[in-house]
Every structure is written in C-alpha cells, then in structure tokens.
Amino acid sequence: MDHSVITVENLSKRYIIGHQRAPTDGVRHVIEAAVRSPFRWLRSRNQEKKAQREEFWALNDVSFDVKRGEVVGLIGGNGAGKSTILKILSRITEPTKGRIQLEGRSASLLEVGTGFHPELTGRENIFLNGAILGMSKEEIKRKFDEIVAFSEIEKFLDTPVKRYSSGMYVRLAFAVAAHLDPDILIVDEVLAVGDVTFQKKCLGKMQEAQARSRTVLFVSHNLSAVEAFCTRGIVLSKGRVVFDGPTKPAIQHYLDSLRGTRPPSYGDVIDLCAFGSRPDRYPPQLRTLRLYDETGRPLGGNLSAGAGMKATIHVELEQPAANVNAEISFLTLDGDRVCTASSAYEKCRDESRLSGSVVFRCEIPSLPLVAGDYKLNVGLYIGQTEADLVEDAARVAVSWSDYYGTGVAPMHGVFLLNNRWAVATAADMVLA
C-alpha cells in the first residue's frame, strides 16, 4: 500500500516571458526589418533576443512523492506554480529539469468541458469530451447512461449545448469527467464553478474513487474542500515546496504565509490595481474599493455584528459593455463564502451599456455575522462572465455586539439568525 505512484524529483520549469508578446515580433515586422537591412536585422535580432527574453522559473527544484491511495491537495497563492506542476504531470508541457515517474494510468481534468463544442448536442459532446479526456469509444458507450443520469440533463440530450444554461453545461462536463476511471486523477480548480449541491456530488464521486485506492492530486481555492477531502497537503510558494504534510497544518501554514506576505488590509480606501492575487488573464478593471459604516464614515476595518455598511467600487471599463455587475463577497479566513452582495441581485438600473469610469455603490443595511475576521472578494461581471476579480481585497473584523439584546454572544457558525422562541411546559401549551 505504501508504494509510490508519483515520484517527482528536482522538477524545474522555466518560462520565457515577454519575448513572444513583444509588439515588434509580428511576422510583418520581422519581414520588414529583414528586407530593409538584412545584416543589421540579423545582428539586432540576437541582441533583442537577449534583451527581451526574460527567464522566469515557475517551478524551482520541486520534489515529492505520492503513495497509492493518497489524496494530495496542492495549496498556494495565484502564480505559485500549482497549475504548472499539473500540466507537467499531464505531459501538456515539458519540464526544463528534473524527472517524474508515474505508475498507472493518469487522467487530468484541468478545465471543465475542454473541447466542448457549442454547436454539438449533449450526446455528441459526451462522446467528444470523453475521447478528449482519454476514454475509448467502448468505455464511453458503456458508461453513457450513467453519465447522463449523473448530469441530470436527460431531456436535453439532443439539444445543442449552446442552448444550455451555464449550470447544465457544467453538470454535463463534470458528469463526463466524474466517470473517468484512472489510477491517478489530476484535478485543477475545476470545482470553482457549478452550484454547491453539484460540487458535493462531484466530491462524493471522487471520494468513491479514493475508496478504490485511486490516487488524487487536487488543486482548489476552496480550502475547506481540501481539508475535507485530502489526506495530505503540499504548500507551494513561488515555485517551491514550502510545506509538505498532513492537510490541517498545511492549510494553517498557507494561511500564516498569506498573513506574512501581505498584511491583510483593514483599511478604508483600497487600491485594487495593486493586487497580485488577480488572475493573470484579467486586465485590472476594478480600481478602488471604499468601505464606510452605515452613517457614511470610513469603516476602519471594524464593524459591530449586525451593523450595516456601505461600499463604493470604482471601475474603469476596458470596453463599453452592457449588463455590467459588481459584487462583494464575504468569506471566512478559510475561504468559505458566507454571503455575497451583488448588483445583479438587485436590478439597480436598466441593462444599458456602460463605458469608462463607473462607480457602483452598495448599501448593506445589516451584516449579521458572528464575531471574527472576514475576507472580502471584489468581482466584476460582464454578462455571465467574470471580467475581474480581486481576492482578499479587504478584511473586516466583526466585533461582538449585543445583537439579540440579551447579552448572549453566539460563538459558532458564521451567521446571526433572527429567531423567536416560546417555551412553556407541555401542559400550559395545551391550555393555550
């Protein structure tokens, strides 16, 4: 049972950045320059290459091994190198140095619905996606009914997936992936989408796999999913392994390191441009977040339980767009989302096009949270798609207040529930 199925030795990965993105690198420029003065071009090309090529080590001497049946969570901030490890393990990209030994068949799920084609029907996409994930036609045929049942979209099997709601789409995509039956399963951040019930179902399915002593390598931002599901945690930071051990201490290590690298902001005016935690693919459109108490005075990072607050979010839109929405979500320090305030929930204006500078004002009359620290994520949506996201943009320390007017302070859970009770002896109850 304690046989290593994944052995990673001194793995390093170097990316060359900047070079291929340079504006002068288009073919037209290259040809133009080459034709105008060939010798100068040849000479300058070599120099340019050196100047523009910036090396970047996304992974630096990473070693670990995983035994059969282990479920390992890879934890780390954005850009830590988690996806890079998974991509190398999946053979999508080659390592620059080092060596990996895999024993058994592996399957990777790096994205939900890779290769789905909007014009094709659900049925056709099941076959296509199955083949893409490495199932044989026979295998897909055999599991077809199971996949359909799991996805709960029987009625829409012959509808092109472009007509699906995003929930249905995700369910179908997961259903196919959940029926992979490899010895080693590699999963990246895919649980970030889909509704909670369905996510639970998927985790359940993966746990089944674990019960059959499958090995799983799992990346998720959802630390409670990692905690519930993984038997071991590896913490990465800047391409290095900084912790490797049981899940709980691993998560603790990661949370501590977060505090260390950037003191959480309990301020009032938060510059959202400056955040490194933004996924690379997003241009920074969220600019500033301001937090006030219910009377309009700066919040100062403190809020008494049940009090209200106000926020303004300043956005610079890259392009004019319709259906723009901003949201603020509140999370526990473990990363569980408690609740979300979104302009999409409340039709605050007609769906006209917005452009340039836009300010969203949000008022929350009461935030009945149990005392403790909470993280705020700020997101921007255009239509259904996420256009910008700043995680842990600000922190709010919710302090105890006499919410119930009884002097009693709830310590458990995250939410203060309004409740009414009546107590009497059973005999009185009958009389009344």
Binding site: Y15, Q20, D25, G26, V27, R28, V30, K87, I88, L89, S90, R91, I92, T93, E94, P95, T96, K97, G98, R99, I100, Q101, L102, E103, G104, R105, S106, S108, L110, E111, T114, G115, H117, E119, L120, E124, F127, L128, A131, I132, L133, S136, K137, D183
Partner: protein
C-alpha cells in the same frame, strides 16, 4: 503496470506509439469538424456544391469565352473543373491545416496528445469537402456525355498527392502560426498568388512558353493538376513527367521537413499558444 517517465526531451521516445494510441481522438476531432460543418445548415452542404459550381462558371466564361484560351477540343468546364477541384482542395486544406492549432488552442493548452493529430484531422475534413464538390465533376461529365478514360482509376493517387502536399505546407504554417499569430494574414495572400501561378483555369502547356515550362512546374500543384487532367481527359492529355517528379519530390520534402519542424517546436506549443 503502466509506467511513464517524464523528463526534458523524453517526449521523443514514445511519439509514434502515442500517435497510434491517440488515433481515436484523431477520428473524433475529424468527426466533430465534419459534424459541425455539415450540421449547422443545409446551406453547409449546398455550399460545398455551389462554390465550385459558381467558380467553374465564372472561370469558364472569363478564360474560355472572353480570353478564348485553347481547350484542345475538351469542353471548357471540364477542363476548369479538373484544375479547380484539386486547387480548392489544396488551398482550403492548407489554410484549415494552418489554422487548426490556433483554433484548437484550448485543447492544446489543457490536454496532452501528439499535436500532429490536430492538423492531420483538419485535412481530412477538407478531403471530405473535396469529395462532395467532386460530384459536380460527375454531373458535368454526364451533361457533356464525356466518357473519361481508364486513367480515371489513377485519380486517388493524385488526390493523395494533393493531400500530402497540403499537409506538408499546412504543418509548417500551423507551427508558425502558434508563434507568429499574424501569419494568418499571409496565408490568404499566398493562396491568391498561388491561384495565378497554378494552371487552374487554363492548359498550361498551351499558354506557358516551352523554355519556362520547367520553371513553371516548380509549383507543386502543377503536377497534381496535370495528373488530374490526365486521369479525366485521358489520351488528349499527356502526362508531363518532369512536373510529376518535381511534385513528388516537393511533397516528400515538405512532409518530412514539416513533421521535423513541427515536432521540434511542438513541445513549446502549450506554453506560447
């Protein structure tokens, strides 16, 4: 137990074995593209007929009637079709093949498979398109009651040649396009120039002076179209062997260097795409 070692440069070792292992994905990708192509509308299929039919008419009128180019006693539309069908096959195959990796960039960056599958399956789609449009030739032959010679049985050979040539060029373009995106602007331009230096709408041996013939035949499609006309027109068209030799030479060269270059750069595709 299935064992796998991942190391820098290691991908080379099991490349051809992997290619075979992933053949099902190859079928599926071709199947997907065909399905999408012929599913969206009826117009999709009609288009595969209509485009060559209309082009044939225009070329016949312009070159046959206005320019009065020699036809060596063959109905001009037949002559045009024998040039146009392989040319359209070649040019669309090359363009689709060239675009294929960029079109499938989400696959390339999210799953592993020998990347050669993507351009290869895209050429298959063009081949099916070609077969659909080739039925026009059958109709036109019927219309003119023109019985092709027995050489017609060699036709698949030349289709194969066009396929291989398109695949060879397409591989180079596909690999280039990943790194240099604006290469896609150059491809239509290449195709357009190619149309004029390829004997699509005329009998080149009647038009091109004898002493330039060999130079002209350096275009690999000259041999293919020459072969097509030989297959369909039979005795009236003599095979020009130098052009055949050059085309075969080109094709072998393009495919081998194409695969070589493609494989050299393919391991960085996922990083730069």
């Amino acid at each position: 137990m299935h064992q796998l070692t991942i190391e820098p440069g290691r991908a080379e070792h099991h490349y051809w074995k992997d290619l075979w292992k992933y053949r099902e994905l190859f079928y599926f990708l071709a199947w997907r593209d065909l399905l999408v192509r012929y599913k969206q509308t009826l117009v999709g299929i009609a288009w595969a007929f209509l485009r060559p039919a209309l082009t044939m008419m225009v070329l016949t009128v312009v070159f046959g009637k206005f320019a009065k180019l020699p036809a060596a006693g063959v109905p001009y539309p037949i002559l045009v079709l024998c040039g146009m069908l392989p040319w359209q096959f070649f040019s669309t195959a090359l363009a689709e093949c060239g675009n294929s990796l960029v079109h499938n960039s989400s696959l390339v960056s999210k799953i592993y498979f020998p990347r050669l599958i993507v351009p290869a399956s895209s050429v298959i789609v063009s081949l099916v398109d070609f077969m659909v449009s080739a039925s026009i030739l059958a109709l036109v032959l019927l219309w003119y009651q023109y019985l092709p010679s027995a050489h017609i049985f060699f036709l698949p050979l030349f289709v194969g040649l066009a396929f291989a040539a398109a695949f060879g060029v397409g591989l180079w373009i596909a690999a280039f396009m990943v790194r240099y995106r604006d290469f896609r602007l150059i491809v239509p331009f290449m195709v357009q120039i190619g149309f004029y230096i390829t004997p699509v709408a005329y009998l080149y041996r009647e038009v091109v002076p004898e002493k330039f013939l060999l130079l002209y035949a350096l275009n690999p499609m000259v041999g293919v179209i020459d072969g097509f006309r030989w297959c369909v027109l039979g005795g009236q068209h003599v095979l020009y062997w130098p052009a055949q030799a050059i085309t075969v030479g080109w094709t072998v060269l393009l495919i081998t260097t194409g695969i070589w270059y493609f494989r050299r750069v393919e391991r960085t595709f996922a990083d730069v795409i």
